[in-house]
Symmetry: C2
Subunit: 222 residues, 2 copies
DNA sequence: ATGATAGTGTGAAATTTTTAACAAATACTT
DNA sequence: AAGTATTTGTTAAAAATTTCACACTATCAT
């Protein structure tokens, strides 16, 4: 389940570290907008709700970005993290499954702002093929193998219903995709060298419901 | 960051366990649909991509649901997990922020299928107020405190832009919400007894990009 | 019945991840 | 220029989580 990742020194990097680094980038950008220039691991930790040592440890996997006695220069740290994560460039993305969620992602400009540009939209529904969504023409899913090459896409987003997710994945794989982000609530199988990530926000509702139930049983609400 | 949860015996339950339990439910439902009746931890582990012991350990937090030498009866296990997580009932949910993502969630029937019913939609944009989305009238966010009571909602979903997330949270809290699932890419602050979960799918794109970069540096694609 | 096979539940071991502690480095003050 | 404040990077300790290993229970075949 938890694929292990390595940095260039071949140390194992916890998956949780990657998630937190993304969080740090987020916070650093917010701080930048406020006009801040420097921040300590202690302050940043506070903002992110984590332990200061953890931040320093997380960063240490990739290098030394701070100045002792001073802290971290916000802009430079942000850039350093992004570079470490391979986010210092644009990633071309194709999306399969132009349903409600697919449309939302196509129109969502957060992706673009973070360097992920959706360059192609695909669906297998004849009624959707040919339609234009967010400036993109929807193509037939079966054309994916060719289109991926043509569009130079490296990442595929799957937003189909679960029963069609594996087929979508197969098309993506056939086209030589390198990574898949699957929003459909089902596992998919893919060769070892293809990165597969699952996004499942139902989890978070489950978890919220569970924690509320616990709080309730402790009488925290009455 | 990782809030610790407890079961009724007051053991700490890892957050990761909850996430996996949600995954198990998903797989069990798929198996049920295929007409399967019984499954072993080994087989289920395979389906979920985890270790069999882990499944048994996860379940042990809540009770003994299996039969030695036999395995787990799928329907009963699924129900038992759902009950353990407090998912054996309907949860009323309100949604704040009727943008692209908000609309997608409002129309998404997966939520309803899992027992989360969106009973109210809110936004602060006068152009959106009064509009009808997925059979719900959009109300002004400032009416949240009253409406939450009225609608008997316990969970709030935030799908506003990040700069308005905290204000949305404040309305929700004022209305006596018990849990918040925040899709906006920003942290929010709330009293201790209110459960806050963050959904951030950009993380998954970051993580995918990073892993691809690593694979690339290992020459895995050429 | 009895033996063989399958498979859970669980305590102990191994691993991973987080937190604490502190030496080393910088800046600021006098 | 020396002393004090900070705050990083890193090693060591602590805590949490995962995996192993196996006793124990059920089923099936003979």
């Amino acid at each position: 389940m938890n694929k292990v990742m390595f940095n260039l020194k071949n140390e194992k990097i916890p998956r949780a570290t990657i998630t937190r680094l993304a969080l740090y980038v987020q916070q650093l950008e917010a701080l930048e907008q406020k006009g801040e220039k420097v921040i300590s691991s202690e302050k940043l930790a506070q903002e992110c709700g984590v332990n200061p040592s953890q931040i320093r440890k997380d960063l240490a996997y990739f290098g030394e970005f701070g100045v002792r006695g001073v802290g971290y220069y916000i802009y430079e740290l942000k850039e350093a993290i992004k570079k470490s994560l391979g986010l210092d460039r644009v990633w071309n993305v194709v999306l399969v499954g132009v349903g409600n969620l697919g449309r939302a992602l196509l129109r969502h400009n957060v992706l673009r702002k973070r360097g992920f540009v959706i360059v192609g939209a695909f669906d297998c529904d004849p009624f959707k093929i040919g339609e234009e969504v967010a400036g993109l023409e929807v193509f037939c899913s079966s054309t994916l193998p060719d289109k991926i090459q043509e569009l130079n896409a490296e990442i595929g987003i799957i937003t189909t219903p679960p029963e069609r997710a594996q087929r979508a994945a197969n098309y993506l794989i056939k086209g030589g995709i390198k990574g898949i982000v699957n929003f459909a609530p089902t596992r998919i199988s893919a060769p070892e060298n293809i990165v597969v990530e699952y996004v499942d926000f139902i989890n978070h509702l489950f978890s919220t419901a569970f924690q509320i139930s616990l709080n309730q049983s402790k009488g925290l609400y009455i």
